[in-house]
């Protein structure tokens, strides 16, 4: 059956707008979004993709999206941002035929919009768990202090309500006494400030870091390598950024999701109006176990404990309450 479907689709042309609420560079989710779409286009000759970077100013997102949709050139708009659905609702109301698929967001009941929300609380939870294992361990750069760190470029709801609490909760599953040192760079570029923050945090006893800081994360990688500290990274494989210091990378299967979504679009089987929360169980969040750096950097026992925990998460046996956004 799959074969015949494929064949029938090749006829149907499809033009896709990938609407980036920011810039692709330096953001794993957006990069995956763009690459996923491009790859799909590469595999399907009659699929056209335009990647549009709308910049960081939220105030300008709606106007630009409207302009793009108004051209009527795009069969489908792909985006990835919690705030995109409400914009899509307003734009959609002006252009009733336009369809949107938005990841990293949650909105039910609008017949033009399909959303997928990654369970970032979950990812932060198991990354926090790993961080907890490391900080209490006797690994070379680990210290006695029960302290893990989190460096963010700026504060925003998903970060404050899911990622940071999840990360701390995960760490505390190892030892309830573990503290979180959370600091903010103030922008997505000032890597040197991030570096200063990192070393100041390290001096304060932090030995494992999580980071959501775009380009500024570079500062953390540098400090980790120079002064010795561990990093758990969200959403992407970044072991290479600090080869012997990044001890774990969460994975977010944005690319996979995008390609599935697009083939659904081709086959017309997208369930508009519905929203799904996708996590480890569904296979859209995970962990980069396969990287040699992971094996090299973490001792056997920690890996065993962590993989056991991941197994529980996968089977949904870890209980937690997902805070409302």
């Amino acid at each position: 059956a799959g074969m015949t479907e494929q064949a029938s689709q090749e006829e149907k042309p499809l033009s896709v707008l990938v609407y980036i609420t920011g810039v692709v560079a330096g953001s794993p989710p957006y990069t995956a979004l763009a690459e996923g779409a491009n790859q799909f286009a590469a595999e399907h000759p009659n699929v056209k993709v335009k990647i549009y970077e709308a910049g960081f100013n939220q105030a300008e997102w709606e106007e630009q999206l409207t302009s793009l949709v108004a051209t009527g050139e795009y069969d489908i708009v792909l985006g990835s941002n919690p705030s995109l659905p409400e914009i899509a609702v307003r734009v959609g109301s002006k252009f009733p035929k336009q369809k949107f698929v938005i990841t990293d967001a949650f909105l039910e009941g609008n017949s033009q919009i399909r959303t997928y929300l990654y369970n970032q609380y979950e990812q932060s939870l198991y990354l926090g768990y790993l961080a907890g294992l490391v900080t209490v361990s006797d690994m070379p750069y680990a210290n006695k202090a029960l302290k893990v760190g989190f460096i963010a470029a700026q504060e925003y709801p998903l970060l404050n309500k899911h990622m940071v609490p999840g990360f701390l909760a995960g760490a505390r599953m190892i030892n309830p006494a573990i503290e979180l040192d959370f600091r903010v760079v103030g922008n997505w570029f000032d890597a040197n400030k991030a570096a200063d923050l990192a070393s100041s945090m390290r001096a304060a006893g932090v030995d494992v870091f999580a980071v959501i800081a775009g380009g500024a994360a570079q500062g953390l990688f540098r400090v980790a390598q120079q002064q010795g500290a561990y990093i758990v990274y969200h959403n992407d494989n970044e072991y290479k950024a600090a080869p012997s210091h990044v001890v774990g990378c969460g994975s977010m299967e944005q690319r996979k999701l995008v390609m599935e979504v697009l083939s659904d679009v081709l086959s017309g089987s997208v369930a508009y109006g519905t929203a799904s929360i996708v996590g480890v169980k569904e296979g859209y969040l995970g962990f980069h176990f396969d990287d040699p750096a992971y094996v090299r950097n973490l001792p056997q026992d920690i890996r065993d404990k962590f993989e056991a925990f991941m197994q529980e998460v996968r089977e949904g046996r870890v209980s937690y309450t997902l805070p409302p956004l």
Partner: protein, 297 residues
């Protein structure tokens, strides 16, 4: 405390360098707001050239050249086409932020962070005797060569400004343009050079930012050029003043980094500390200067 002072010195260095460059244009009678853009250009070009040439020295030197090219454009448009220096400054900043990204895309096929694995971390120099002194040692020893270079350059620039004919004439251009004209000297010639000097200093300031990371991050300067401008005024346009002023800001910034961990206050408030602190310093300095001028009552 020692760590605080140490990182204060590290933070102040790019500011000091950029301010130093800005001092030349300022004294020649122009408000140079292009420091930000020149710094960014320097940050990008110097690390790229370091990567290409495999030598940090060459990288910085070539970076300086590239930045001076941008400054030449700025100078020609401002002085020869007689455009408003403020707008051309804004334009330079805009151009630099666009150009660096375009170039990085053309060169490395990447608009985002460009990591140069080949580039090791900067050496840290321990100053033999100084490092033993209690507080001061921790403060000024064990920094990257750029820190000490910046001090050498500061001494050099104060020598140039106050001991050489060039300096005497440059400052005259800022103080009383007509005097130079009446002597047949061209103020804009000295301003042109001043632009190049600030490009030179800003290039190094930028190099500090990128070489310290071994990577280029778009907009890595993130406003430091503007702070450099503040430093010039807070430092009352005197080399030593710049040193003090940049240290003030460096310390405030280092402190805010530390405070984020120590205090339970919204991060944004703490991020505002350096600005408010500098503002306070600005006021205090002006009160003092003003008091001396007053008529006895």
């Amino acid at each position: 405390m020692n760590a605080l002072l140490h990182s204060a010195v590290a933070i102040m260095t790019p500011l000091l360098l950029a301010a130093m460059g800005g001092l030349f244009t300022e004294l020649s009678g122009m408000l140079n707001i292009a420091l930000e853009g020149l710094m960014l250009m320097g940050a990008f070009s110097s690390i790229v050239f370091t990567y290409l040439s495999g030598s940090m020295i060459w990288g910085v030197l070539l970076g300086i050249v590239a930045t001076m090219l941008l400054a030449t454009l700025l100078a020609v448009v401002t002085l020869n086409l007689k455009s408003n220096v403020f707008i051309t400054g804004l334009a330079t900043n805009l151009l630099a932020s666009g150009l660096t990204i375009v170039l990085s895309f053309r060169l490395f096929g990447n608009k985002g962070v460009v990591v140069f694995d080949r580039i090791g971390s900067l050496p840290r120099w321990d100053i033999p005797l100084v490092s033993d002194i209690p507080v001061l040692g921790a403060m000024i020893s064990g920094h990257s060569p750029f820190v000490y270079l910046s001090w050498v350059l500061l001494a050099l620039s104060s020598w140039v400004l106050y001991k050489t004919p060039f300096g005497l004439r440059l400052r005259a251009a800022g103080l009383h343009e007509k005097t130079l004209v009446s002597l047949g000297l061209s103020p804009s010639a000295y301003r042109f050079i001043a632009f190049l000097v600030s490009a030179f200093a800003c290039a190094i300031a930028g190099a500090v930012l990128t070489l310290n990371l071994g990577a280029f991050v778009p907009n890595i300067t993130s406003g430091k050029g503007w702070i450099a401008l503040v430093v010039i005024f807070l430092g009352q346009k005197k080399p030593l003043g710049l040193l003090g002023a940049s240290l003030v800001f460096g310390f405030a910034d280092a402190f805010s980094n530390y405070a984020q961990g120590a205090w339970n206050v919204p991060a944004d408030f703490i991020l505002a500390i350096p600005y408010l602190f500098t503002l306070l310093a600005m006021v205090i300095v002006s009160i003092h200067a003003d008091w001396k001028e007053r008529i006895k009552r």
